[in-house]
């Protein structure tokens, strides 16, 4: 039996003969690795996942031309900055007069499909074969018939709602016509773009800065209540998840260290026998360390897989989008677990080394 074979044999037997002891140690490492992996994976992706939930709030940035109408070059730049995930809706407004009641009404021109997409929170009552989106208060005021004649100076448009929307803001007092029809009627071109820029708070801010710099004729401003709420909610949730995970991971680690220490102390007889048979302190230390490291490594790998699985599932269950595993986490989780296990197993050995093997074997 060579020295190396002996070492392997000792390692293997130590785990195999006392399966339950090895198993409790393994479980305690795996639990730490699982919860640490799950918490860190979730934490790393939380900002993006939560920010997505703010898309329903409608436009989060408004760009206004300080004078005149938007040029097609400016619109192209804006569309580029918004990207494929967001929405950019140019709008123009004019005041019309409804002929029968004589009341003034604000009429907007916009791409109606895009307007609907931008405002998923609007509650819509679909009508048939109309040409306009009509705010709830307008529909209530003009309750006579379904065809309204709206005059802009000498031009008169016939408006029939395709959908009536409720939104709770001043838009409820407005009528939206398709942009082309609106331009033909009023000769007014869009000077404002409603934007929904997707992303994390800092990405939105970066897009605003970029737009302001590249479009000097435009004033680009965030809809502050939405961006502020997003920043607050995303930031605080991240902090809570971080603090709670830190507490859990640290406490569970302590728990694991306690378990490990006690399972090493239990083996004081093995330790004493080895010493009595002439093993050096170093040999005993490295044997115990190798055993712990092996257990920790196995536990950590299992924990990483399990933890990534839990994070994936939490993403699916809570955000309807899986949180992908973070390969970068594997190394820190493995190293951390092994380090902890080594600390937890070698510290009690120091204690044992101060006692005579004979005393331990006598059971004192």
């Amino acid at each position: 039996l060579s020295r190396r074979q002996l070492l392997f044999r000792l390692l293997f037997k130590a785990a195999w003969v006392r399966k339950d002891r090895a198993l409790t140690a393994l479980i305690s490492v795996a639990v730490v690795a699982t919860i640490a992996t799950a918490a860190l994976t979730i934490y790393s992706d939380l900002e993006g996942k939560l920010s997505r939930e703010f898309r329903g709030f409608g436009a989060n940035v408004i760009a206004t031309k300080t004078s005149g109408a938007l040029s097609s070059g400016e619109l192209t730049l804006i569309n580029q900055a918004v990207g494929s995930g967001g929405e950019a809706v140019p709008v123009a407004f004019a005041i019309g007069t409804e002929l029968e009641s004589g009341s003034r009404v604000v009429v907007g021109g916009a791409d109606l499909e895009k307007l609907r997409k931008l405002n998923p929170a609007w509650s819509l009552t679909e009508m048939h074969q109309g040409n306009a989106m009509v705010g709830a208060r307008v529909a209530e005021k003009f309750s006579h018939g379904n065809d309204w004649q709206i005059a802009f100076g000498s031009a008169v448009a016939s408006v029939r709602p395709q959908a009536i929307f409720h939104c709770g803001s001043e838009d409820d007092s407005r009528i939206y016509l398709p942009l082309a029809d609106f331009e033909k009627l009023t000769n007014v071109q869009p000077g404002t773009v409603l934007l929904r820029i997707e992303g994390r708070p800092q990405e939105i801010q970066a897009a605003i800065t970029l737009l302001s710099a590249s479009l000097p004729g435009l004033e680009v401003q965030p809809v502050r209540q939405i961006t502020q709420a997003q920043t607050a909610v995303v930031g605080k949730t991240r902090s809570v998840v971080f603090a709670a995970s830190a507490v859990v991971v640290v406490l569970i680690m302590l728990c694991m260290v306690a378990t490990f220490t006690s399972s090493v102390l239990e083996r004081r007889r093995d330790f004493a026998v080895m010493k009595a048979l002439g093993a050096s302190n170093r040999a005993v230390n490295s044997l115990f360390a190798a055993e712990s490291a092996l257990l920790a490594l196995t536990g950590a790998v299992a924990g990483y897989i399990l933890g990534s699985g839990i994070a994936f599932w939490i993403g699916k269950a809570n955000f309807d989008a899986a949180i992908p595993p973070q390969p970068l986490l594997l190394i820190p989780v493995l190293l951390g677990s092994v380090f902890l296990a080594l600390m937890a197993s070698t510290a009690p050995l120091k204690l044992l080394q101060q006692i005579q093997p004979a005393a331990i074997l006598r059971g004192e």
Binding site: T24, S123, T259
Partner: protein, 428 residues
């Protein structure tokens, strides 16, 4: 004899017992802290979401359409209908009055101002900043400072005057864009309708108010000669996220259903209650806010719930493993007891009683530590404490008992399966 065994076991095995106790206490403080944070996170995030501003808007039912383009109000104040300001405090008296975080009344009209010998047109907006009010015996203050927390002022917020202040020029806010265009600065005096106002601060909102003069409501009412009148009230209320039941038409509900609907803080039922006490008003949800805050809230709550479950499971496993480890160490004791004639039942009873004591002590210590941790988290992140419900203590003690019993039972059974002689020889 049993008690003596129990007592001696604690006295002689201080190390083992303290390891087990530590593990249980740690596990249970995780449970306490996570349950506390998980159950309170909804309220905390709800408060944060109030920075979205009002979620209900109250307008007179007979009002004409808003004529508002690019933040400029083109509807004269003389047109349209008003809500009497004196009725507004009743909003605090509705069934869900405690959920009303604040409200802000508005009146606006385009006026001609004179400053530094030049005249310009701008909206004059009247509102509450932080108006002290009382409803019955309840004192409260409300206004845009609570309802629109994203409004920032450079300089000082004006006072909410109850009447025109004698000789002084009352303070108002100038919108940041307007101030920039007209060269207005803090301390400047402006005139409107023969009355003098003083700019106490520059207001920045990112909205149409940036181009307006914002005055205390009673001052604006005096200038517009519309005493006791407001055009619009925005209300910020803590609401329960809307579900299918919330969307039902209250008129078509059975009386029992109607009561349940009425007594749930849905935006719709709060709107219904406001309509009950303020006749002739329309109360609309600010849909983007109301529809989405529930969604955001439920995501955050769901996340914390799942994390709490994961943490509880992990804590349970960790505590069980620790208990198993400490009992497995004591095989020889089991062997000795059995060889001296103890029945399996007696051995199990001894170990489980020990575990029970440890669980209760560990549970208590864990609860205290967990409560402290939850407090710290609440204070450092939200600036307000997280309340730990006393029920959590019962839950934690029960959980501690369950987890330690499960952890010990397996290990005790295992220890008893061995032949005492083999164990005592040290061969097992």
């Amino acid at each position: 004899m049993f008690l003596r065994l129990l007592f001696e076991s604690f006295r002689r095995q201080k190390r083992r017992k303290s390891v087990a106790l530590l593990a249980i206490a740690l596990g249970m403080s995780i449970a306490t802290a996570m349950i506390a944070v998980g159950t309170d996170i909804g309220d905390k995030i709800s408060q944060e979401l109030r920075s979205l501003g009002a979620n209900l808007v109250v307008t007179p039912i007979d009002d004409t359409l808003d004529v508002n383009i690019g933040g400029v109000n083109l509807k004269p104040a003389s047109e349209g209908a008003f809500i009497p300001e004196s009725d507004l405090t009743k909003i605090k008296g509705i069934f869900w009055g405690h959920n009303i975080k604040g409200y802000a009344p508005f009146i606006a009209n385009e006026e001609t101002f004179t400053a530094k010998n030049s005249a310009f047109k701008a909206d004059l907006i009247g509102t509450y900043f932080a108006q002290p009010l009382h409803y019955g015996k309840e004192q409260f203050s409300t206004g845009v400072r609570t309802v629109n927390p994203w409004w920032t002022v450079e300089g000082a917020w004006p006072q909410d005057y109850d009447d025109w202040p004698g000789d002084d020029a009352p303070g108002v806010l100038a919108g940041s864009k307007l101030a920039q265009q007209r060269g207005l600065a803090i301390g400047d005096q402006i005139e409107v309708g023969g009355k003098t106002l003083r700019i106490s601060g520059i207001l920045s909102t990112g909205g149409s108010e940036d181009q307006a003069i914002v005055a205390p409501l009673h001052i604006a009412q005096k200038i517009l000669r519309l005493p006791n009148a407001v055009q619009r009230v925005t209300v910020s209320a803590l609401t329960k996220p809307e579900d299918a039941f919330a969307r039902k038409d209250p008129d078509k509900m059975s009386p029992a259903m109607h009561d349940r609907w009425y007594c749930s803080p849905y935006a719709n039922s709060i709107a219904f209650q406001i309509r009950e006490i303020l006749p002739n008003v329309r109360v609309e949800q600010v849909r983007p806010v109301e529809q989405n805050q529930g969604r955001v809230l439920s995501r955050v709550q769901g996340l914390m719930l799942l994390l709490t479950l994961a943490a509880l499971l992990a804590a349970a496993l960790a505590v069980s493993a620790a208990m198993a480890a400490t009992i497995l160490e004591r095989r020889q004791e089991v062997g000795l007891m059995k060889s001296l004639g103890a029945s399996n039942l007696a051995v199990a009873a001894l170990f489980l009683t020990e575990a029970g004591f440890l669980a209760v002590a560990g549970g208590l210590a864990g609860f205290v530590a967990g409560t402290l941790l939850a407090h710290r988290i609440g204070h450092s992140i939200f600036g307000s404490s997280i309340v730990v419900h006393p029920v959590v203590l019962a839950v934690v003690i029960c959980a501690a008992l369950l987890v330690t019993f499960v952890g010990s039972a397996g290990a005790v059974r295992k220890a008893m399966q061995f032949d005492p002689a083999v164990v005592l020889r040290g061969d097992a």
